[in-house]
């Protein structure tokens, strides 16, 4: 039997087993899930406050919140919410000490990343919450929602 035919048989076997497991396994997952609400659902379960785009715009324009960008420096440089501070989730342990006092002094800290398919902002919020910060607000819609609302980015 040719290798490609063998591969096809193995893929078919995996397909059958995976399908069967979906009917009998106690740990089965839904065939399809609404991942666009995943970050918000986890955030609410963790007791975090959520902001939508209107909230984020109001907080930014009133200057009543520190805006924190949880994305990589590369993404931050390519466009960010006006006045946002870069605190990449990937480097949080290293960068956080520089901003710890500032984060504590601010009445509110709005954290965002690229959008609903990104959980860096959630992970950063959870990290900051573990450090004792209680003034956190998660803007789950992030850059994507900001742009869809026609709002300007800073570069």
């Amino acid at each position: 039997m040719r290798p490609v035919a063998q591969l096809a048989l193995l893929v078919a076997a995996a397909g059958l087993l995976g399908t069967a497991a979906q009917f009998v396994s106690p740990t089965r997952i839904p065939w399809r899930e609404n991942w666009s609400t995943h970050v918000q659902t986890k955030a609410l379960r963790a007791g975090l406050r959520l902001a939508d785009t209107a909230d984020a715009q109001r907080l930014l324009e009133s200057g009543s919140a520190l805006i924190v960008d949880a994305r990589s420096p590369r993404d931050y440089d390519s466009g960010r919410l006006p006045g946002a501070l870069s605190l990449p989730d990937s480097q949080r342990s290293v960068v956080y000490p520089e901003f710890a006092d500032l984060l504590t002094r601010e009445p509110l800290v709005l954290v965002y990343c690229s959008g609903l398919s990104c959980d860096e902002s959630l992970n950063l919020c959870l990290f900051l919450k573990d450090q004792g910060h209680t003034n956190l607000v998660l803007y789950a819609g992030g850059i994507q929602a900001w742009k869809e609302a026609g709002l300007p980015l800073e570069r």
């Binding site: 497991a21 089965r28 399809r32 959980d119």
Partner: protein
């Protein structure tokens, strides 16, 4: 690859050993994903590469392909090349997915051998490891005897 050419016996034994090694790696990788597909689907979500509709499907079927390929490599010489093809294709996909996210600077766990949030953080070492496995799979292919070795050519006497 020379079609129909039987490799030296020691290479055939080495290929068997390498196939078993790759089988063990993939079995170890499949196990936590089969135990906790919900956590694996979350690991896939974090890669930010797939549409919502594909995430759970991949979480359901990929671990079974890993397990089936591992089994085929471990117990069946007949399906070895097909399993090596499956392994190579999966490794290429993993390398590309990891490479994209490392380039993006996205901080996620690899999801290679554990699926919880405290799994190994992704790094270029993960990619290097997968490239090494890919090369091993290629060598195993090269040294594996064909499914049906040609009948030996009778020697002329005289």
């Amino acid at each position: 690859m020379t079609h129909g050419c039987t490799p030296a016996p020691w290479r055939a034994y080495a290929a068997r050993f390498m196939a078993l090694f790759i089988a063990a790696i993939f079995a170890l990788a499949a196990y936590p994903k089969l135990r906790d597909p919900a956590a694996f689907s979350e690991a896939i979500f974090r890669y930010q590469l797939l549409p919502d509709a594909a995430i759970n499907l991949l979480a359901i079927y990929l671990p079974w392909l890993e397990a089936v390929a591992a089994l085929a490599l471990a117990v069946s010489g007949r399906f070895r090349r097909g399993a090596l093809l499956a392994v190579a294709l999966m490794l290429i996909v993993f390398i590309v997915a990891m490479g994209i996210n490392l380039y993006r600077g996205v901080n996620i766990t690899c999801g290679c051998f554990s699926v919880g949030g405290r799994g190994e953080a992704m790094s270029w070492l993960n990619i290097a490891r997968n490239i090494g496995l890919l090369l091993l799979a290629a060598l195993t292919w090269r040294w594996s005897p064909p499914a049906r070795a040609p009948a030996p050519t009778p020697r002329a006497r005289g």
